[in-house]
């Protein structure tokens, strides 16, 4: 069996499962946020009763992150609904807005707070819940109805997915990041190339990556249509978890004779920096092919591109330089935001590097990655051409239907912010 099949077998109480089977599995963690939490709560109450109990308050994580810093009254009402529900059910893992506990982007918050445990099942009401798979667990996004059923029963039905194996061999050159690897994969197989399947990542170049970079790989499994993305846990995983106080878990691994739908192998030393051109994540081109494309703005943020290492990569290029287009910096979580002040390059903090380069720094949240209310930081309102470290560039994704978004690595975005046109990071990396 593959690692994914083994996790599903374990959580359904079976010896083995096979791709295509529909089974009910136990959920170890359910995560929701401010956009899908309130309607999930509405369905939970409709189906189980106003006073029904959550199946296990310790397994429910609520991290508001989408529409936080806005005057939109409906958005703010959603936070009120979450707060009241958390109080009613005495939920220990509610990370409230306006308190020290507020985290920001849920997928990174889940990692930081130690909820990503190898060998388990984590379900969330957000398509990028697949991010957590970087820790060797099965994680996927669902809608409000499925989440409400879990809230009441702790169970979900799933079709056991086939697995596709992606092996990255060789040593990653300094001008490439995990973002280039996953955009390469999505360009190869297309936005529906992994529909109903799991993307399992393997190879020395994957295991050389930090947990932050691994999360960029699994984050965008959904952009290939995948049900989940997964990277088997190793010492890097264990070290990250032990720093977060987690030592008790039971990882599983694919068998040598596990069966895969298909297998792709890449030599990372031969890959190029790439972008996804408007208006689809699979619309790949090498940076060299689109070099010189005029830009109006640069954006570094989100669950896939707003982690500390994403900002370290950008700061390497922006240090001592000045951006020539509007450049927005959105740390995914409050922990990342704090570390922008304490992480330095040659004595200068990342925060100061960005300010001195003329960037605008926003507060931790999903911000303009998905457009959102009109007053959202970094949101597009016209015909802006944006280069962004986010994960989707469908029409209107960052706000305006007339704007156009190029997806790229933090290195490529930073290099392009200095010139105002799409620029290969090899031009500016020393």
């Amino acid at each position: 069996m593959t690692i994914t099949e083994k996790i599903m077998a374990r959580n359904s109480g079976r010896d083995r499962v096979s791709p295509g089977e529909n089974i009910w599995i136990d959920v170890d963690v359910l995560m929701t946020h401010d956009v899908c939490g309130p309607p999930t709560i509405g369905i939970f109450k409709r189906e189980f009763g106003e006073d029904a109990k959550v199946w296990d308050p310790n397994k429910l994580v609520i991290m508001p992150d989408h529409y936080i810093f806005t005057s939109d009254r409906h958005a703010n009402r959603n936070i009120d609904i979450l707060r009241a529900f958390a109080a009613q059910h005495n939920l220990p893992h509610y990370f409230d807005v306006g308190t020290d506990r507020y985290k920001g982007v849920c997928h990174i918050g889940l990692a930081e707070e130690g909820f990503n445990i190898p060998g388990t099942v984590l379900i969330g009401t957000d398509s990028h819940t697949c991010t957590s798979g970087a820790f060797g667990l099965f994680s996927t996004g669902v809608g409000n109805t499925d989440a409400a059923l879990i809230m009441g029963t702790g169970k979900i039905w799933v079709k056991v997915p086939e697995s596709m194996r992606f092996v990255f061999e060789g040593s990653l050159p300094p001008y490439l990041m995990a973002k280039d690897l996953i955009l390469t994969v999505i360009g190869d197989i297309g936005c529906d190339g992994a529909t109903y399947r799991t993307l399992e990542f393997d190879g020395e170049a994957v295991f050389d990556l930090s947990m932050q970079e691994r999360m960029t790989l699994t984050n965008m499994a959904i952009e290939a249509g995948g049900k989940s993305g997964i990277i088997p846990a190793d010492q890097v995983t264990f070290d990250y978890l032990s720093e977060r106080g987690k030592t008790d878990y039971n990882p599983v691994y694919s068998d040598m004779d596990a069966r895969y739908h298909s297998e792709y192998t890449y030599d990372v030393s031969k890959l190029e920096p790439v972008v996804a051109k408007p208006h689809s994540p699979d619309n790949r081109a090498t940076v060299r092919e689109v070099e010189g494309t005029r830009l109006d703005r640069a954006y570094i943020g989100s669950c896939t591109g707003g982690k500390l290492e994403d900002f370290e990569a950008a700061a390497k290029i922006l240090k001592g330089q000045e951006t020539v287009i509007a450049t927005f910096i959105v740390p995914a979580t409050t922990e990342v935001a704090a570390k922008l002040h304490t992480t330095t390059i040659d004595g200068e903090s990342l925060h100061d590097i960005f300010i001195n380069a003329g960037c605008q720094i926003g507060e931790s949240s999903c911000a303009a990655c998905l457009g959102g209310p009109k007053d959202t930081f970094g949101r597009t309102h016209g015909t802006e051409v944006v280069i962004s470290t986010t994960n989707r560039n469908f029409p209107g994704r960052m706000g305006s239907k007339q704007s156009a978004v190029y997806l790229a690595s933090p290195l490529t975005v930073a290099a392009s912010a200095l010139s105002g046109v799409i620029t290969d990071p090899r031009e500016v990396l020393v």
């Binding site: 309130p38 509405g42 189906e47 959603n78 109805t145 936005c191 529906d192 469908f394 029409p395």
Partner: protein, 188 residues
């Protein structure tokens, strides 16, 4: 699930993602308040670029500017319909607008699942490309039992892929009713 769904076709292209079905700025309205939820019907499909709205002509909004419900009952899409975010607001908005079924060459996994588990719209797959053989406004009949689509304006008939195991959930109404009938959760 109704055995027969009749109404006008609304035709779209490939890769209609959930931001096009219901743009993110509208995800803040209540899904339970009877008046406020109508806004989902008003803004359904409003993220589709104008020239792609209602093919082949385009520039045909799914819901007219002053309305809360659509004139169209059956959406005809291309490949990878419903890709992108997991927002259940997408099939919810389609249903709120009056849409009852969507027929596409392929669906993104979460959209398909949300449509079925929430009992919002009936998602049929078809192995043949049909969004170039049906025009927005054509009169259609969908026989959900036989999986047969009839275009009364052209006389063409299309055999759709069987719904398979999810038909049981659609027949029950939603995943809660299905789970109750199967004894997986207690009856209300």
């Amino acid at each position: 699930m109704k055995p027969i769904i009749e109404g006008l076709a609304y035709v779209l292209g490939d890769s209609i993602d959930t931001d096009q079905i219901i743009p993110a700025e509208h995800l803040v309205y209540s899904l339970t308040d009877p008046e406020e939820r109508k806004l989902y019907g008003k803004y359904a499909m409003s993220g589709v670029p104008a020239n792609q709205q209602g093919l082949p002509e385009g520039n045909t909004p799914f819901t007219k500017a002053d309305a809360y419900a659509s004139d169209y009952t059956i959406i005809i899409g291309g490949s990878n319909f419903g890709c992108g975010s997991s927002r259940e607001h997408a099939p919810f908005a389609m249903k709120e607008a009056g849409c009852e079924a969507v027929i596409a060459e392929s669906f993104a996994r979460i959209f398909y699942r949300n449509s079925v588990d929430g009992g919002f719209v009936v998602p049929f797959e078809t192995r043949q490309k049909i969004n170039d053989r049906i025009k927005t406004g054509h009169r259609l009949t969908l026989d959900t039992t036989l999986g047969k689509l009839t275009n009364h304006d052209t006389g063409e008939e299309f055999l759709l892929d069987p719904l398979g195991e999810v038909a049981e959930i659609l027949k029950a109404g939603n995943v809660f009713e299905y789970a109750r009938q199967a004894g997986l959760i207690e009856s209300k």
